[in-house]
Amino acid sequence: MSNVDATGYDPVPGGRPAPGGQVYLDHAATTPMLPEALEAMIEELAQLGNPSSLHNPGRRARRVVEESRELIAEAYGARPSEVVFTSGGTEADNLAIKGLYWARRAADPARRRVLAAATEHHAVLDSVRWLSEHEDAEAGWVPVDARGVVSVPALAEVISADPASVAVISVMWANNEVGTVQPIAELAGLAAEHQIPFHSDAVQAAGQLPVSLAGTGATALTITAHKIGGPVGVGALLLAKGVEPVPVLHGGGQERDVRSGTLDVPAIRAFAVAVQVARQRSGDEAKRVAALRDDLVAQVTAAVPDAILNGAPPGPGRLPGNAHFSFPGCEGDALLMLLDAKGIACSTGSACTAGVAQPSHVLLAMGADEARARGSLRFSLGHSSVQADVDALGAVIGEVVERARRAAR
C-alpha cells in the first residue's frame, strides 16, 4: 500500500503524495525514529526472553532492560531504581496523579486537593477531573499568565488556601501546544517546602531541554520515547526513591511493585538508544533547531504580518522546536487542510473530538478568546528538520492564510 519516498516519510497513507516530498512540521506529535534506535529495536525484536524469567534467555533480556534503565536514569538525573517503565506518557501521568493521590489520601484523609496547571496535557487534566468526579478529590487549577507561565506566587496562592489539604501538585515542564517552559525547579522547591509530592509531565521537554529529577527535587517526572526519536508505546515515570504510589495496573508487579506488565524489551532498548543519541547531541541540536524555529517565525510573520505568536518569546522560556500562531480571521482546521494539500504537515495543537478540533484549553487559559483559540496552528521542529522545511512553509503560508480567511467569511 504505502511507498516510502526519498525523504523517508510515508506520503500520507490514503492521500496524494506531495509533489515536492513531505514537509513534516509536527514533531511535537511524534518525531521520526532515530536510525540508531530503529536498528537496535529491529535487532532486539529477533531476540527471545522475558526479563522476568530466571533462565538464560530471561537473564539476557533482563540485562538489556537494566542497561537501558541505567542509561535513561543517568540522562535524567535519576537512579536506575527511580525509572519505572510504562507504556508511554499517558500511563505515566495516570500513575503519578492517581497513584500519588490515592497514597496520600490513604495516609491522611484530609489530603484531597489535587493541584494542576490549567494548561496541562489531557493525560493530566482528565486524570485530575476523573479523581474529582469519582474519587472525592477536589481539583485546583493553577492559573497561567498570558505567556502560559505558572508563576511561583500563583502556585503559592493556590496552595495557601489550605496547604494541609493538598495531596499532589502537577505542573508540566513544557507545554505541548505553545511550548512555554515552566520554572520547574522553583515550583518543585515550593511544593517541597510544604512536603507536597510534585509531578511534572516532561514529555515535550525531555528531547529538547536538560531534564533532571535530582536537579529539580521533583517527586516524579513523565517522559516518553517517541518524542525523542524512540518508538511509540514505551515511556517512563521517573519516581523518586521511597515514593510509593498506589498502582493503577495490577499484576506481576514487574516495576517496583508499582507497575505491572511484561516489559517490552525491544522498545525499552530503542528508548535508551534514542535517549543516548539525543543526549550526545543535546546542546548543539537545540541551538540548531532554535535557529530554524526563529527563521520560521520570521518567515511566517513576514508573510502574515498580523499573525500572533502565542506563548513565550523565543529564548529559554520556550521549547526550541515550537512555534505556535493564531491567524486572525482563520479556522485552524482549514489552514491545516490547505497546508496538508501542499504537502506540509502541522497541527492545530489542541485535542480533537471525533476529528473535530476543539478550541484549545491552553489558549483559553492564557486569556485568548475563542476565535483566536480556533484560528491557531502549531509548527514543531525536530531532529530531522532542515532549512528547506521552513522555506517550504514560508513560501505558501501567506496564500494559505489568505484563502482560509475567505473561507471563514
Binding site: 482549514a334 487542510m337 471525533a354 476529528g355
Partner: protein
C-alpha cells in the same frame, strides 16, 4: 462521505475519473455524544470511521468538517419549528438546501475546490436544445439560466431522476437552485443501488453491505413524536371530526401528519365503522381534524417559494408531473405560477398532501423546479 456505501462509491468514481477529490465527513451533532448512540443515522462514531476507511481505500485525503451549529439552526430547529406550525417538513431536503449545497459548498469553493460530489441517486442531464417553435409546450424549451457564466460556457444541465426508480433522490435535491446544481456532481445517477453495492465490493470498500439509512439522522431511536415532545413539550388539544364534534384529546398537534391513520388514540370507532385519517392540523388552536379517506382527496394545491432550476421562471400555465412527497408518485397537473406562489391543479385527486412537503415539478424524468406546499384542498 457519510460512512455509507453511496458516498463511498461516488467518491471512488470521481477520483477514478481524474478529479482531485478530498473526502469530507460532516460532524453534525452539537453535543458530541448525543447522535452517536443509535445504530443508524449519519452521525455515529462508527459512521465517521467507515467514511475514513473508505477514503483510505480510495486513496484520497479525508477530513471531518464541523457543521454542527449550522445543522442545528438550519435543519433541526427548522424541523421542530415546522412541526410546531402544523407542517410536515422534510429535513433531508433542508439539509441539501442549507448544509451540503450551501454551507459545505461555500466553504469548499472558498478553499479552492470546484464542486461538491455526493452519493445521491440522481443525474445531471444536458438540457434539450431550445426548439425554435416554443409555442406548444413552453417550459420544455427553456434552458437553464447560464449560471456558470457566458465566459465559461453555460452549463446547460438539469436535475433528472436516477435510473433506479426505487432509489431516486431527485425529490430531495429539487430545492437546489441552478447555481447550486452547477457546482454539484452526482456520479451514481446512472446506476442502480445493486450495481453500486456490487461495485463497492469490487473496490474493496468495507461498507458494501452496510444497510441503507432511512430514519431522520438526528433522531437516533426513530421516535419522531417522542423527539418533538421533548423539544416542544406537551401542548394538548382536541381531535375533532369535519363538523367540529370533539372525538378525543391529544397532547401535541405536532405528533400528527396529514393522511396519518395510525396512532390517533381515538377509543370510539367512527359511526360508519370506517377508518379515520388526519385531514388537517390547526396549530394555533391545536385542533386536529380527522375524517374518512375520501376527505383526503386533493385537487387544488397552493405552494410558495418556487425554485426553477430546470427552466426559466415560467410566465404562464403549463402541464407537468408533480410529486408531492418523497417516494410518492408523480401526478399529471396544470401549474399556474404567479409571483412567489404556484397554483397546482391535479388531473386526478391525490390523497394525504401535507403542508410543508415539497411539490416537485417534473418534465418526464427531469426536474423543472419545486415549491413548498402551503395549502391543499378539494377545490
Amino acid at each position: 462521505m457519510s460512512g455509507g456505501v453511496d458516498s463511498a462509491v461516488a467518491a471512488a468514481r470521481a477520483a477514478q475519473a481524474g478529479h482531485e477529490v478530498t473526502g469530507v465527513h460532516l460532524a453534525l451533532s452539537r453535543n458530541p455524544s448525543s447522535y452517536r448512540t443509535g445504530a443508524r443515522g449519519c452521525c455515529t462514531l462508527e459512521d465517521a470511521r467507515d467514511a475514513r476507511r473508505a477514503a483510505d481505500v480510495i486513496g484520497i485525503p479525508f477530513y471531518v468538517w464541523d457543521m454542527a451549529e449550522r445543522f442545528h439552526a438550519d435543519v433541526v430547529q427548522d424541523f421542530v419549528d415546522e412541526y410546531a406550525r402544523g407542517n410536515t417538513p422534510n429535513p433531508c431536503l433542508r439539509c441539501n438546501e442549507k448544509i451540503k449545497f450551501a454551507a459545505v459548498l461555500d466553504r469548499a469553493i472558498a478553499l479552492g475546490f470546484d464542486a461538491v460530489c455526493t452519493g445521491h441517486h440522481a443525474r445531471l442531464e444536458p438540457v434539450p436544445v431550445p426548439a425554435s417553435d416554443a409555442s406548444q409546450a413552453g417550459h420544455r424549451s427553456w434552458p437553464v439560466p447560464g449560471s456558470a457564466g457566458a465566459a465559461g460556457g453555460a452549463r446547460l444541465t438539469r436535475l433528472t431522476r436516477s435510473v433506479d426508480p426505487a432509489k431516486d433522490q431527485s425529490y430531495v435535491l429539487a430545492v437546489l437552485t441552478a447555481e447550486q446544481l452547477s457546482r454539484a456532481m452526482f456520479p451514481l445517477g446512472d446506476s442502480t443501488k445493486d450495481q453500486v453495492r456490487k461495485e463497492a465490493a469490487e473496490r474493496g470498500l468495507g461498507v458494501a453491505d452496510k444497510p441503507d439509512s432511512h430514519d431522520v439522522c438526528f433522531i437516533a431511536d426513530g421516535d419522531t413524536r417522542g423527539f418533538l415532545r421533548q423539544q416542544l413539550g406537551s401542548a394538548p388539544g382536541d381531535i375533532v371530526d369535519a363538523d367540529g364534534g370533539v372525538l378525543g384529546r391529544h397532547d401535541g398537534s405536532y405528533g400528527f401528519t396529514v393522511g396519518q391513520r395510525k396512532g390517533l388514540g381515538l377509543d370510539r370507532p367512527a359511526a360508519d365503522g370506517r377508518p379515520r385519517f388526519v385531514l388537517s392540523i390547526e396549530p394555533v388552536s391545536r385542533t386536529v381534524t380527522v375524517g374518512p379517506a375520501e376527505a383526503l382527496d386533493v385537487l387544488e394545491i397552493e405552494a410558495h417559494r418556487p425554485v426553477w432550476s430546470g427552466c426559466l421562471p415560467p410566465g404562464g400555465p403549463f402541464d407537468c408531473l408533480v410529486q408531492l412527497r418523497a417516494h410518492g408518485e408523480a401526478h399529471p397537473a396544470v401549474c399556474v405560477p404567479g409571483g412567489d406562489a404556484v397554483r397546482i391543479t391535479l388531473r386526478e385527486p391525490a390523497r394525504g398532501i401535507a403542508p410543508g412537503q415539497a411539490a416537485v415539478f417534473y418534465d418526464g424524468d427531469a426536474v423543472l423546479g419545486s415549491a413548498t406546499i402551503s395549502r391543499a384542498g378539494r377545490h
